[in-house]
Symmetry: C2
Subunit: 245 residues, 2 copies
DNA sequence: TTGGTTAGTGCATTTTTTACACTAATTACC
DNA sequence: GGTAATTAGTGTAAAAAATGCACTAACCAA
């Protein structure tokens, strides 16, 4: 084994952020149009180099803020991508982060190195720069898992929302339809929603009730180890007995 | 933002492997006694620098092999740890990997930079070098999650095992007791075990039947999207209604 | 006032989970 | 050879959760 450690200190890290939003019934992801080589002019996840004197998690926040103007976003690490030839400039390992935000709450202001920052519909994407297709896909998997484990849907919706909007969000993430009555029963039984005593306005049909998410209660339940699991209801699953042959 | 990218190429990566085993009813982890600075003489996870010309996943395998003699071990990435002052020699980000192995199948041969490589009972550990306590803890969480999702128990047991051994393994990972009848019912209903038509020998009580894991069937079920979820049975969970006040 | 549209609601059946205690097979020891 | 010690192995009833399904309610527009 090498005794000269200096040889190892010749690599770089980047962070790449996968920021999900939800609008008009579609799951969206925030992308930038790169204004720098390599991959100049291509759409990419908002990411950049980590400085040697900053923590990884802090770098993810800073980079997101510098490229898109978004601040105070909760970011969660997903995976490190470390193939040798990911990057034209040398050995670069990237660590991906993901987040869920309410699109309306944030104004996006691309910086100099990002020509544009824009929401894109996930189902309708072109090829992205670097290996960002792979990175995005792994975050989509994470989101799919997360939505079955925690009531993350609320993070993506405006403060007041209808049950139908919430259901559509779940359907977009899980990519499968849910039964209306069963969905409502399960969500309401968690006691996480507060009835706002308001209804939708300006719709050409019966207006729906508006609800908001009770974060206090959510925190309390988390503390008590409550299991938020929400199973899919749509496709009937086969039992192991039926699969035996 | 910097235009001189060279400034970013001054960091190093390491990989740290958390190898779990199971023996005598206890969950074990493989540690090395470090033979190099920093932290010379301390117990640590088997990890080392990633070469600039090798893939991250490949590095994890190589390092494990060089430090402990273990080869052909399946490794799964867990998390990247990137605080600034983790390492005395400079900026080092480590990516942790974990694996489950059958202790009997592998002969451990420490290399020159590892003074020793040894199995340690997880519940009975001293402080580890670097931030390896944190890294180990995150892998324990991952294992706890994994065991509820996939029948990973089989990875840790010898080819032929009894249902009681399997149950004890689950209890060690979940850190809570399980009901014998319910555990057996659920495990057997997955149809993943094959009765070996043999019984234990040399025990001073009724000998238990030996089973083996049917990997073919497992692969088939995975392919069909079968849900292996195994819930804990022990502590009665409160419903959301009971938690309402 | 009628048609179009989405909101909102209940119940019966099936499946899964849970709680629980005795008999069976073997060895060790007297 | 008998008995004590030890772990293996088994079933059922009750409770909880999941599932499948179809009609009425409220609003707007034409």
């Amino acid at each position: 084994m090498a005794t000269n450690f200096d040889n190892y200190f010749k690599s770089a890290f980047t962070v790449d952020n996968v920021i999900f939003g939800f609008d008009e019934g579609d799951l969206k992801v925030l992308l930038i149009k790169r204004g720098e080589e390599p991959h100049i002019g291509e759409w990419a996840l908002p990411g950049y180099f980590v400085k040697t004197e900053e923590d990884l998690d802090a770098a993810a926040k800073r980079v997101l803020s510098e490229l898109t103007g978004l601040t105070n976003v909760y970011l969660e690490q997903v995976h490190a991508f470390g193939s040798v030839n990911r990057h034209a400039f040398g050995r670069v390992i990237t660590v991906s982060y993901f987040s869920l935000i309410k699109i309306d709450n944030y104004i996006i202001q691309p910086s100099s190195i990002a020509l544009q920052a824009q929401w894109h519909t996930v189902n309708d994407l072109q090829h992205l720069a670097f290996d960002h297709d792979t990175i995005l896909e792994s975050c989509l998997q994470r989101l799919k898992w997360l939505v079955k484990t925690r009531p993350v849907g609320f993070e993506l919706l405006p403060p007041k929302f209808t049950l139908t909007e919430l259901q559509h969000l779940y359907e977009a993430i899980l990519r499968s339809p849910l039964d209306k009555r069963n969905f409502r029963k399960k969500i309401l039984s968690m006691n996480l929603l507060v009835d706002c005593d308001e209804t939708q306005e300006g719709v050409a049909h019966r207006p729906a009730k508006l609800y908001k998410f009770d974060r206090k209660r959510y925190n309390k339940l988390v503390e008590q180890g409550f299991n938020f699991e929400l199973k899919e209801t749509p496709i009937k699953k086969k039992t192991s007995a039926e699969l035996s042959n």
